[in-house]
Symmetry: C2
Subunit: 253 residues, 2 copies
């Protein structure tokens, strides 16, 4: 039975898409059935996995023009399937405002799909608008990528409060899986301070820290995950570590 995990953080550029693609790839390489749903109109997860939205995108399903299962396409990563996004998904933010049960649309679309997957990952846009609220309402757990930068710290309190609000009003079983520290540069004290600060506030912070690595930022230009593009790189090792921690928590509990 699938577990739905949202990758969310309203701060921009913190590694949501990079974590969605590469955590997804690492889980798929362990033989798990993984679906990545691109909930961001920027469609970076779609192109970062070599996917195309020519035969439709999440926008079509949210508007009722297509069934979600008909939108699923393979990605460049064997075992990792994709529901593509497209720029018109930005329109959904406004179009959903007056819809009935507007926060539950994605949750209800995903219900019939869950039995076929072990993990469904939702890559969110950098905002707390209706698309992200839909993803949080559909999710069992949230993974929050946090860039090792000062400005990335600022929004965490507000994000945590938003998760609480969603849990109380829309999705009682939503839980915080953990925070993944990204783009860590060991040469700067700032990065070390940010990691210490986040670890101090959030017990569920993943032990694995993802280093800043140019290979990670090159991989999407080839439409490949880090494990396909540079399997022996520090970035590939780090995301394998994140996947291991995630799975180990499920065995242990």
């Amino acid at each position: 039975m699938a577990e739905v995990i949202a990758l969310a953080n309203q701060k921009g550029g913190v590694g949501k898409t990079t974590t969605a693609i590469n955590l997804g790839a690492c889980l798929a390489r362990r033989g798990l059935r993984v679906l990545l749903v691109d909930v961001d109109p920027q469609a970076n997860a779609t192109s970062g996995l070599g996917g195309s939205n020519e035969s439709g995108s999440l926008y079509d399903a949210l508007g009722g023009a297509a069934r979600l299962e008909d939108l699923i396409v393979p990605s460049s990563e064997p075992g990792l399937s994709l529901v593509p996004s497209s720029p018109d998904l930005a329109g959904a933010e406004i179009e959903l405002v007056d819809a009935d049960r507007r926060e539950y649309v994605l949750r209800e679309l995903l219900l019939p799909l869950r039995p076929r997957w072990d993990f469904i990952l939702l890559d969110c846009p950098p905002s707390l608008g209706l698309l992200t609220v839909n993803a949080l309402t559909a999710a069992d757990a949230v993974v929050i990528p946090v860039q090792c930068e000062y400005l990335a710290l600022e929004g965490l309190g507000h994000l945590a409060a938003t998760l609480e609000r969603v849990r109380h009003t829309l999705n009682g079983s939503l839980r915080l899986e953990g925070l993944v520290m990204t783009m860590f540069d060991p040469r700067t004290t700032l990065a070390q301070q940010v990691v210490a600060e986040v670890r101090g506030h959030f017990a569920q912070t993943f032990r694995t820290v993802v280093p800043r690595s140019v290979r990670l930022s090159e991989a999407p230009s080839h439409g490949l995950s880090i494990v396909a593009y540079a399997p022996h790189s520090a970035g590939a090792a780090a995301y394998a570590g994140v996947a291991d921690e995630l799975l180990a928590r499920r065995v242990a509990s």
Copy 2:
């Protein structure tokens, strides 16, 4: 007579806030009267300049509860004033949907203020929703910060198309001032490729490239601009270069 410049890019984490704060500070240091309006619910420009939203934020003016001029507060940077933001501004995206002339609200709020400033900078959130559309409708020109990363390239076509649409339907005098390349790391070929690609597509790209510099990411943790925090740093020199180019274009034309 003020010129209104929006800092916009729907891609997250590309340096919109860092450019708004530091371009603003460099213009103010040259004796110009500069107002920075924080149009992002994350309120990073507000805290990055040591500002507080305790006595109100842009949200109050958009909703008609306060006059914009009553919200102006000093920042840590002499000569650079600020209209703070707050997290409830995210609600404006939904609340504005049914408002009359919903795209013109900010433009109309800024009209009476323009004579008192030389430049009004608008720091936008990472989306193309109603807040950013309001900023683009209010602006005379747009500066697009572009991170020297592959994923930052992907959205530029869509952003350029959005600017065209705003120019045709909402704000006929909107023009593209230029693109500022940010977080440039000369050691990676990827960064050099991205700069060459952007320069090839957009003639108005600023000559000055902002290097990746930890001083720039430390400055907001002190509530200071780069010129106050590390005046002799590469980041301070780069933003002085961007300010010089911006002003030189106004003299030349």
